[in-house]
């Protein structure tokens, strides 16, 4: 296992460390759009920067998986002492670590910015809580992305994932168009389910669900890995 972690670090250390830069995106965007602050305020620009950082971080997290979809490597790692399960575990841990590093960087930079703003007599709004929610969204997205990569390969996997999502969206829109009353029923159900009393509970359950989904994603990837290997290099 140590060897796999070492390989991960040697191979992807720049991708891992780039999370620190992505976490600084809110302040970097603020510096780039300095002249706009007077018009729209610093908080919306920082939130925009945060979103840009989240997208960039997501792309870099998936870049870690680049090159995994090769038969020779897949058979070799399957035959190693840790097996493909150990290898996938290290991959999942690395990506989770990258998400955590991104959040740590965002929070550190945000606290630093708020401290500087306080010294200047300004009242900066912290965006760490938004970053925290974004972090859980990232965990959920990676939980969906990674099994597709291992089942179908990097390129094909992203296309199939896209087709699945577009199909699901089309089916959803079509069902709502065919039965407009359904949309109202859904909205009404949401309104009755989510209220001030159980809002925080649902949110906390949602956060746990993201973590559980990530673990389940690992188990699914383990199940699909050897099937996927057969399709690599085609």
């Amino acid at each position: 296992m140590t060897g796999l972690v070492y390989k991960e670090w040697k191979q992807d250390r720049w991708l891992i460390l780039s999370m620190l830069l992505c976490g600084a995106a809110p302040v970097l965007v603020l510096l780039l759009m300095h002249s706009e602050i007077a018009d729209i305020g610093d908080a919306p620009i920082r939130i925009g920067g945060l979103l840009a950082g989240v997208f960039a971080a997501g792309a870099l997290q998936m870049a870690v998986l680049r090159g995994d979809d090769r038969k020779l490597w897949a058979y070799w790692i399957t035959a190693s002492a840790d097996g493909y399960r150990g290898y996938l575990r290290v991959r999942y841990e690395t990506i989770f670590g990258m998400i955590v590093l991104f959040l740590f960087s965002v929070q550190l930079v945000d606290m630093g910015y708020c401290a500087v703003a306080a010294d200047r007599g300004q009242d900066a709004v912290p965006i760490s809580s938004i970053a925290l929610l974004m972090c859980f969204v990232q965990i959920l997205l990676r939980a969906v992305d990674i099994p597709f990569v291992y089942r179908f390969g990097s390129k094909k996997g992203s296309i199939i994932k896209m087709i699945c999502m577009v199909t699901a969206a089309i089916l959803l829109v079509a069902s709502l168009i065919l039965d407009p009353a359904r949309l109202e029923r859904i909205i009404e159900t949401c309104r009755t389910t989510v209220n001030a009393q159980n809002g925080s509970l649902l949110l906390s359950v949602g956060l746990i669900v993201c973590l559980v989904m990530y673990y389940l994603s690992y188990r699914i990837s383990c199940r699909l890995y050897l099937k996927g290997v057969e399709q690599y290099d085609h």
Binding site: T2, Q107, A115, A118, C135, S204, L207
Partner: protein, 285 residues
């Protein structure tokens, strides 16, 4: 294999750097009072000083960067990760709620709903998975270095005692700054530091056991995070209850302030001693 003399030398260098970092609060006291930015920088540097000290010591003494216990070692250890989350929660729940129930004031807790309790626990669990990483700045030093060097010199019990005292003393500058800035006195700061030292010495036994059992500092990082955050979460829950401002639960509250941690310390000390030295506890890899 290193000799005790080498361990003592490395430990001396490590402790020197850690205690020198405490001087940051003295040297920068005035700028920290004047500027939030300086306070933020010094506070963060100080928070990471145990880890920085361990890295510097490893580099200076050329002992290398092995045995930093930075692997997650999740396989087979999930239950210990869950224990790292659950035990501090249970301890503080006992500390806060049991005296209220035992003194016949259970009615005060009527304001609590299952939803509130559940959402607090689940939020804390989710957050401890992603926001606890900052505490690696401490745990990499205390559990990942100090304990390893102390144990051959002082034995298991000595390590827990000395480690707890060092850990508690290290917090003294923060307590001093916090007290003085809020109009308190130096003696109050020392009282707070003393109480913290006691709690950390007890709790350190659990963290030491956890680190040895999993061969990783990460369960200790999570347990440390939950230790810090659960008190606030439970206090927030209690604030929803109709507890009178002048409520006094008497001696029972004083007893339960430390009893759960003492029980944890005794239990895990027995486990540490039963399992023998650190090598015996570490799973073969």
């Amino acid at each position: 294999m290193t000799t005790k003399k080498e361990d003592a030398k490395r430990l001396g260098i490590y402790l020197l750097i850690v205690f020198l970092s405490m001087l940051l609060f003295v040297l920068f006291r005035r700028p920290m009072e004047a500027s939030t930015t300086v306070y933020f920088i010094i506070f963060d540097l100080f928070s990471f000083s145990p880890a920085i000290a361990s890295l510097i010591t490893r580099a200076v003494t050329k002992e290398g960067f092995r045995d930093m216990e930075l692997h997650l070692h999740l396989a087979g250890n999930i239950r210990w990760y869950l224990l790292a989350f659950a035990l501090p929660m249970i301890c503080f729940s006992v500390k806060f709620f049991l005296p209220i129930i035992l003194t016949g004031h259970a009615g005060w807790l009527a304001g609590l709903t299952v939803q509130d309790v559940l959402s607090n626990v689940l939020t804390l669990a989710a957050l401890s998975a992603v926001t606890s990483v900052g505490l690696i700045g401490e745990e990499l030093g205390w559990r990942g270095y100090l304990n390893q060097k102390l144990e051959p010199l002082l034995g298991t019990v000595g390590t827990c005692l000395a480690g707890g005292i060092v850990w508690g003393l290290w917090h003294l500058p923060m307590d001093l700054v916090g007290c003085l800035n809020s109009g308190g006195t130096i003696s109050e700061a020392f009282t707070i530091c003393g109480g913290r030292m006691l709690a950390l010495t007890f709790y350190g036994v659990f963290l030491m056991w956890l680190t040895k059992k999993t061969d990783s500092v990460f369960p200790a990082v999570i347990a440390h995070h939950v230790f810090n955050e659960s008190q606030g979460a439970l206090a927030a829950l209690l604030s929803q209850c109709p507890i009178p401002e002048d409520a006094d639960l008497g001696v029972i509250a004083d007893v339960f302030a430390h009893l759960p941690m003492i029980v944890v310390a005794v239990l895990f000390m027995i486990l540490l001693l039963r399992d023998g030295g650190s090598e015996a506890l570490r799973p073969a890899r």
